[in-house]
Amino acid sequence: MSVLAYLVAVWLFVIGIYGVITSRHLVHLVTCLSVAQSSTYVLLLGIGYRDGGQAPFYSDIETGTPVVDPVVQSLALTDIVVGATVTALLLALAVGAHRRFGSVDPDELTSMHG
């Protein structure tokens, strides 16, 4: 049980990338990538968790109470923003690719090679 969180993180990465590899639709592909990205949030927060630790906000608890690691939370926040912006950019590219090629199948975007 003690590694369940990490296993879930690995699973999300693996299944997300599997979705990217087998995807037949650009928008689907981008969403799968965001699933793989979410593995990093789970991994980070899992690493920083502490049994019985409180959320790191001293407005509600006494200073000095054991808290979970606030650093990973800050990293995860950054990571979420990065992930969301990359998703937005990728979706814009997907729309552009469809406009150019008239197809949403990633395998059909290879006009240059015939």
Binding site: M1, S2, V3, L4, A5, Y6, L7, A9, V10, W11, F13, V14, I17, Y18, I21, T22, R24, G46, I47, G48, Y49, R50, D51, G53, A55, P56, F57, Y58, S59, T63, V67, V68, D69, P70, V71, V72, Q73, S74, L75, L77, T78, V81, V82, T85, V86, A88, L89, L91, A92, L93, V95, G96, R99, D107
Partner: protein, 246 residues
């Protein structure tokens, strides 16, 4: 590779890669036993030194504020890129395509939208301004703020800007947020000697005006995120929502 061989080869590779990762995570401390020392040191030192009760905000905007500066510009770059890509379409569409005329927002839509703008803006301000005290902050608030901006335009309550003007206004909002964060970085460098050094009066923990530069960073990010997210959404929505200049 044919899709089939690719799926098979990819699955095998991912199984191996996942297996190796699983072996690696067994080397981590068991779940629930974060070993430190970074987080514990921060938890011990920062609340007293910075009068911030929300440790995550204190890290995001102070201890590791430089990361956030980089992150804000990732957002900035992605928004610039998405905007440029989505705009290309309008340029090349030219005059041949008939433009669907924009329906006037109905009275109900305007009333409801308009009535919602104020409370959403208040929520934006609340979430952003309390970032150093409680959960929330510039980023979460900024997304709410983007909602307010879009509601305002949807309701047609604001000045009827042409779409070019609207986009420019959102672009400027985003840039102003980014510039504010940069000004904070350079200002602290000049005033305190190190970039993003928090040398402002710190106040008392838990008060709205406390924690020095942390709320300023929150506000800057809130404005930038609001402008950026609204810009991307508006570029996607394009003529569903906004008038074309032609």
């Amino acid at each position: 590779m044919t899709p089939r061989t690719r799926a098979i080869a990819g699955s095998i590779a991912l199984a191996v890669l996942g297996g190796v990762m699983v072996v690696a995570v067994f080397g981590l401390e068991p779940f629930g036993h974060y070993p430190g020392p970074y987080g514990d040191l921060v938890a011990r030192i920062v609340p007293d030194q910075r009068q911030a009760t929300a440790l995550v905000s204190a890290i995001t905007f102070d201890v590791r504020g430089f990361d956030t500066l980089g992150e804000e510009f990732i957002l900035f770059a992605a928004v610039c890129g998405a905007a440029a890509l989505l705009r290309a379409r309008r340029r090349e569409r030219g005059d041949d395509a008939p433009r669907p005329s924009r329906p006037e927002p109905s009275f109900a839509a305007r009333t409801v939208g308009g009535a919602l703008v104020a409370p959403v803006l208040v929520l934006f301000a609340y979430v952003t301004l309390h970032g150093h005290i409680s959960p929330g902050g510039g980023f979460q608030g900024g997304v709410v703020g983007a909602g307010a901006l879009l509601l305002a335009y949807a309701a047609g309550q604001t000045v009827r800007l042409k779409r070019g003007g609207t986009m420019a206004a959102l672009e400027v909002t985003e840039a102003v947020g980014g510039a504010a964060f940069l000004a904070l970085a350079i200002g602290t460098l000049v005033a305190a000697g190190a970039m993003l050094q928090n040398d402002l009066p710190l106040g008392t923990a838990g008060m709205l005006l406390s924690a020095g530069t942390i709320p300023i960073g929150n506000i800057a990010v809130g404005v930038e995120v609001a402008g950026g997210v609204a810009l991307v959404l508006a570029e996607f929505l394009e003529h569903a929502l906004l008038e074309d200049p032609e």
